[in-house]
Symmetry: C2
Subunit: 505 residues, 2 copies
């Protein structure tokens, strides 16, 4: 009755608990979708896919607790590092520069992300008052319009790559600003303390899917890629690549949006949906775990978080990924977007060496050149993922097609983290989407009312969300343009001065 | 050995003539791909898909002549019409306005398209000196950067929609300018006389495929969508949705790029190709044939070509589509891009009425409200097309992935009009691509040398290409900015004046 991935399993679990007869058809030879835990000598276990959990991700926290999976906090002592222009700069929590214009510009830009986000409805970004205008622009245009310094633009480009594994010029401004907003804003989205990367699951995140698989028993069938879906008056017939056939009254469909092209529908998909699924590609990313003898960065006062802005460095940002008991010291690195495609074409040894070299430069020690183990995962090579972390919307697609993302098609309801309205793109979004779609089928069966489909989730007591404290400067740093005006320069002179300044910093 | 569409058939024909054992596997129940001829009372026959042919499309002209299919010239007497601001304006060959700034701006903008295009290599746009910068921009940014008047911007937006069935803000500037360039420039691409829309095929364009199908006999198998491709050391095994299995030494693969996601590959597609096929959607378009008792527009001195800029008019541009003997007077209209998606959701009667109303306004007569027959084709609803006319490249995709478009994968060679270097997106491009891919397999078999793969085509004697005559104004009209400077205004005053002017016209 149901198929695919974390979102499919969470839907199936909910319906199974209501006493319904469910079946999960999984295309791969394992459950977990974009969460996957690898095991091996030299590193014990590690999440090569989705891994983090934090405050406000209350559905995922509830589900994992129920399944008996513990969380632990990420290591966050010590300084962060920003590698730019070939040199490491220490910072925490936000980079500052000797040139006050750069700092002012960066703070103003980050504030703008949330200011714009506050105007975008999380559940209907197309209803934002400026939706069409913002959807016609890329994030590259946003940075160009609002940033005065190349430093801020470069930092902005890195943010987009890190958050959504695509480049600034590839993504709609409306979509990216919505994406940050529906995570709860910039700080909630990017923070290791009090944010989306605060915790990990002890034993690995794939356990969540594995335990649900145990609960559902032989109701989960592996190696069953659905290739054809026929809808009749009374139900749906599903055909798999292995030539098996299944009958269901309702289907929760949680294949990643672009990979829905793999399925033939009879009757065919409605025009807007068939156009949508061609227009929202999966992001591109390699995840790289580098293991060391000792957590030497901790000893030097670094947290392990580095932002790397260097053309020949595959990895753009890193975290400490050491186990909570201190075993298997590790730096996890992300190689996103165009870099993922480019560097995935190199031989593994060469890629590994380039990464070690850039870590050595950032941490200022040759210890980084001597890893004890290396694990990498190319999500672009997984046929049933197509990429990671999530889909992105190029300009013009969200306003024109966004509405059909979770619009049912007959007896088919759409789940998948991409259809979520809170932490879409994350595991939390997958759970929200799976449970919502499950309740949509319950509603269709007349078991619950329409207003019970969407449900608020109470806050986790183990992992409560705290407000973010901001500095006076963060709240009040003017834009560079505003500052020049404030200095008493007339708008025209400020304009000319700004023209001279812009792009030179 | 070979499969799908006009490009597949032209490849198969070439190889068959060399004495090879070929097989064409076609997913649909007919050949022709995006060319399709409909038959019916009230209109005889009409091409609901690709239809036009003109000078420099020498491969298509040669092939169709060999197959015994005649061409005829489009009706081009009388004035063109530009509907804007609710009023029709007559023009030929280019719109002029009472406000000289608007005319100047439009002419300058059109000239820029070819000036930029001259720097883009048709066979390798990624090698253009400004490739990365231009690929990061959308055509919307191009118009905003170079146009001074809203009139020129709006006209530019309409051009993009009409040429590539996507919006200015959806397409890469590098890609769109390449697209026009590889057709031979703006005039060659858009003209009805001496350009891409000069002629049509008597009896319909699908005949080309149908005659090739006759020649190949039972070597063409219909209703055989390939769903799985396994490559071994000695050959390729193809599995179809009907559970048939075929063995081949080489495969020419001509499924539209995004629909290649429908096939499972073992070994899997290389990373860059699997990312590419998620990133290049098919354009969106409805084609609409409206038949009348009499060609009343001809009687009023109009050619039947209208450009329509009106939000509530589904059709953006039209041609006369009357048969060459004067029978079945017809206006063919194109409803592209977002409009196609939106208006395809209305009931047919409502759509038809809106179209008739806008024709009535343009031609200034209620005769347009009384059609005798109506034929429409929604290409977005065809599972094995996914849309029409061709794929488009959103920003950032061409430089990063363009190179792999026609890069072979083992024993699989890629054809399809999207892989062409001349008239890509057109039937001509399909023939070039099919024949090139066929010769790639001949080269792999050691039958021809590598330098014989790409072949120049001699010019058609029946349909030679003439140079385009340009007026003094077309060649020399300055940009609005250039003109203001010429008036002796200093750059700064011109800048301020321009600021006041810009966006107001």
């Amino acid at each position: 009755m149901i198929f695919h991935f974390l979102t499919g399993l969470s839907a199936a679990k909910l319906l199974h608990e209501k006493g319904l007869n469910v079946l999960v058809l999984e295309a791969r030879d394992r459950v977990g979708g974009r969460t996957c835990t690898a095991y091996g000598e030299g590193f014990g276990y590690c999440d090569v896919g989705g891994s983090y959990v934090g405050p406000t991700q209350n559905r995922l926290l509830r589900l994992s607790k129920e399944l008996g999976i513990e969380t632990y906090k990420m290591y966050d002592k010590g300084q962060y590092i920003f590698m730019t222009g070939g040199r490491p700069t220490e910072y925490k929590p936000l980079p500052t520069f000797w040139n006050p214009f750069k700092t002012m510009d960066l703070l103003h830009m980050l504030r703008l992300i949330d200011e714009y986000g506050s105007k975008i409805p999380a559940d209907a970004p197309w209803d934002c008052p400026h939706a069409e205008e913002w959807d016609r622009m890329t994030m590259k245009e946003f940075w160009e319009k609002h940033c005065w310094t190349q430093t801020a633009i470069t930092f902005g480009d890195l943010l987009v790559e890190s958050f959504v594994t695509a480049k600034s010029h590839q993504v709609s401004m409306l979509w990216f600003l919505w994406y940050i907003k529906q995570c709860g804003g910039f700080d909630r989205c990017c923070s290791t303390v009090n944010g989306g990367q605060e915790r990990k699951f002890l034993g690995g995140s794939q356990q969540i899917s594995l335990r649900m698989q145990e609960l559902l028993g032989d109701r989960v069938r592996l190696n069953q890629p659905v290739v054809r879906v026929e809808q009749g008056k009374d139900g749906v017939t599903l055909y798999t690549g292995t030539q098996d056939r299944y009958q269901a009254r309702y289907v929760v469909f949680s294949i990643p949006v672009p990979l829905q092209l793999k399925v033939t529908f009879d009757p065919p998909l409605p025009t807007p949906r068939y156009q949508l699924i061609q227009r929202v590609p999966m992001g591109s990313v390699l995840k790289i775990m580098m293991y060391y003898e000792r957590p030497f960065w901790r000893e030097k006062g670094y947290s392990g978080l580095i932002i790397i802005e260097e053309d020949d460095a595959p990895v753009c940002f890193t975290y400490d990924d050491t186990k909570p008991d201190g075993s298997y010291p590790c730096i996890i690195g992300f190689c996103p977007a165009d870099k993922a495609v480019h560097f995935s074409q190199l031989p593994e040894e060469e890629r590994k060496m380039l990464i070690c070299k850039s870590y050595a430069k950032a941490f200022g020690t040759d210890e980084a050149l001597k890893p004890t183990a290396y694990v990498e995962k190319n999500w672009m090579q997984e046929e049933y993922s197509g990429g990671c972390y999530t889909i992105y919307f190029p300009p013009g697609v969200l306003t024109n097609f966004g509405k059909v993302l979770r619009e049912p098609f007959g007896r088919i309801y759409f789940a998948g983290t991409e259809t979520a309205t809170h932490w879409s793109g994350y595991m939390e979004g997958a759970v929200q989407a799976g449970e919502r779609a499950a309740r949509e089928t319950l509603n269709a069966m007349g078991r619950i009312s329409a207003d019970q489909i969407w449900q608020e989730e109470p806050e986790s007591k183990d992992c409560p969300a705290l407000p973010f404290e901001t500095t006076f400067l963060q709240r009040n740093a003017p834009s560079v343009g505003g500052f020049l005006k404030f200095l008493g320069l007339t708008p025209i002179v400020a304009g000319v001065g700004a023209f001279a300044l812009k792009g030179k910093l």
